[in-house]
Amino acid sequence: MLLSIDTSRDVCSVSLLDGQHAEERTSDRPRSHAELLAPFVADLLGGTDTTRLRGVVIVAGPGSYTGLRIGLASAKALCLALRAPLLAVSTLEVMAFAAFEGTPPGAFPAGHSVVVTPRFPARKGEWYVGAYEMSTSLPGTPKGIVPDTVVGDPDVATWITRHVGTRAHLDTEHEANATWAARLVQNAPHAYLQEDASSFEPYYLKEVAARPRAGSIFDRLPFGGS
């Protein structure tokens, strides 16, 4: 059994996946993650035998910085409370998995691989984008072709073409959720295990844009004598 949390984008979702059966609580009310996440968790855990829990899945980014921290701080607390390991998965990898699994059978020729390019807008005219290879014959885990990254709007088409090449291609902006994350992680939990869960950080993909103070304050004043 896995408890899964996704607060990386607009939807706040929590899921309890037991084998193939998923119980999900979800809301698409804007900026509701901070308020709703803990009540969703409490609701799902009520009456559940938590000793059967194999891990807490967190959709770890990229995404809204605030959303990622709400989810991760909660996931870390649940790991501590329930003595469960932390399983972290990329937002883009879950999107790739969900998009591929959601295509009807026969959409792609059997025996070949498909490159899925999940992407969604970052701030400032940029995109969070990834490229994952999925096999039509083997079910399971997306294989990352390159690390998730941030690409400017004018360059995103070129970036995608470069990584897809001549292979079959599936482009997606569709938001995934906690249940998709849990289904993905369930296939190979060890691949997502964070040994050092306590100091684990979200996949922000961007550094903080702050510059150290330079020079004297008087240089920046109208009467600054220099």
Partner: protein, 348 residues
């Protein structure tokens, strides 16, 4: 150590969490006795001359679990032993608060124990109960830090009322800003305090902004320092600072201390209260402690100042404030959120 006489005869084990600004802190109270208090102060902000909110949020996320684990370990307990969780709900930086509140809510949900959101200033007021002899009530409490400057009354039954507050900068913020003007390191309070010890407090008469009632304004004194030095060209200023840095620090500090003390003395006269508490990070300022102490004693009162580790931002005070609320049978729903501008009259 604190041992409250508040009727909690059952076994209680409360974790307090504080992440309102740039200190990540956790503390454990077992049966009302403080067993651990861990504070991790973020050094990430020093090169920037002030707290960078996004950096602070990221650092809280990184440090919180190790700090909580250290607090549990030092208290000799495990997470499963906890009977309640207390967390600072506000006021403070929204991103920073949100890390602590999200963590606390899910910990409470995972353990199935009650949660209480604590007003940061209630925590500071209750820090007067940590260690030593608790002050007599009613009490006048001056909270003075990098983010807050408030004067409050606490009556016999523990109810708080806001008397006055700063209308712009907090007093600690004035220290930081003036330190930046003088080219000194961040945070500015301890540096200015140290330099002022060998300076002349009457060297330069900085203006004392005095408002009616109990409010303060500290933005003028920073501007005054800026204009005082800005009237010189760079070489003259460098030579002047070389010779008079200590004097300027002492004169600035004296003006801030004068301003801080005036409403407290006025409130002692108006209310007749003789018990005064000084809390918040700026309570570490040696001149403020000495001057306020003698002013209070001259009026037959007594000044209470908690030791610095309970006076600066810490989680022991939050655990205690939360413990007192839990003992009164109060708790908050898991839907509570961080409130960056939580007003004093709104109990969380």
């Amino acid at each position: 150590m604190f041992s409250p006489n508040c009727g909690n005869d059952e076994n209680s084990c409360v974790l307090g969490i504080e992440t309102s600004c740039d200190d990540t802190a956790a503390a454990v109270l077992v049966d009302g006795v403080l067993r651990s208090s861990i504070i991790s102060s973020q050094s990430e902000h020093i090169p920037f001359g002030g707290v960078v909110p996004e950096l602070a949020s990221r650092a809280h996320d990184r440090h919180l679990v190790p700090v909580v684990e250290a607090a549990l370990h030092e208290a000799g307990i495990q997470a499963g032993d906890l009977t309640g969780i207390a967390v600072t709900r506000g006021p403070g930086l929204i991103g920073s608060l949100m890390v602590g509140v999200s963590f606390a809510k899910s910990l409470a949900a995972g353990l199935g124990v009650p949660l209480v959101g604590v007003h940061h200033l209630d925590g500071h007021i209750d820090s007067l109960l940590l260690g030593g002899t608790p002050p007599e009530r009613p009490t006048l409490v001056l909270v003075v830090s990098g983010g807050h400057t408030q004067l409050m009354t606490v009556n016999a039954s523990g109810e708080r009322q806001l008397l006055g507050k700063t209308r712009d900068d907090a007093a600690g913020e004035a220290f930081d800003k003036v330190a930046a003007i003088l080219g000194l390191d961040y945070p500015g309070g301890p540096v200015i305090d140290r330099l002022a010890m060998t300076g002349n407090p009457s060297f330069h008469a900085f203006p004392r902004t005095r408002l009616a009632g109990y409010d303060w304004s500290f933005s003028g004194i920073k501007t005054s320092m800026l204009y005082h030095l800005g009237s010189m060209d760079a070489p003259a200023r460098a030579a002047y600072l070389e010779k008079h840095l200590q004097d300027l620090c002492a004169s600035f500090q004296e003006a801030v201390v004068d301003m801080l003390i005036t409403p407290v003395v006025r409130a002692m006269k108006q209310t007749g209260f003789r018990s005064v508490g000084l809390v918040g990070g700026v309570s570490a300022n040696s001149r403020l402690r000495a001057r306020l102490g003698s002013e209070v004693e001259a009026r037959g009162g007594h000044l209470h100042v908690p030791e610095l580790s309970y006076s600066m931002d810490n989680a022991a005070m939050i655990a205690l404030s939360g413990c007192l609320r839990l003992t009164r049978g109060e708790q908050d729903p898991l839907s509570i959120t961080a409130q960056p501008s939580l007003p004093m009259d709104l109990r969380p």
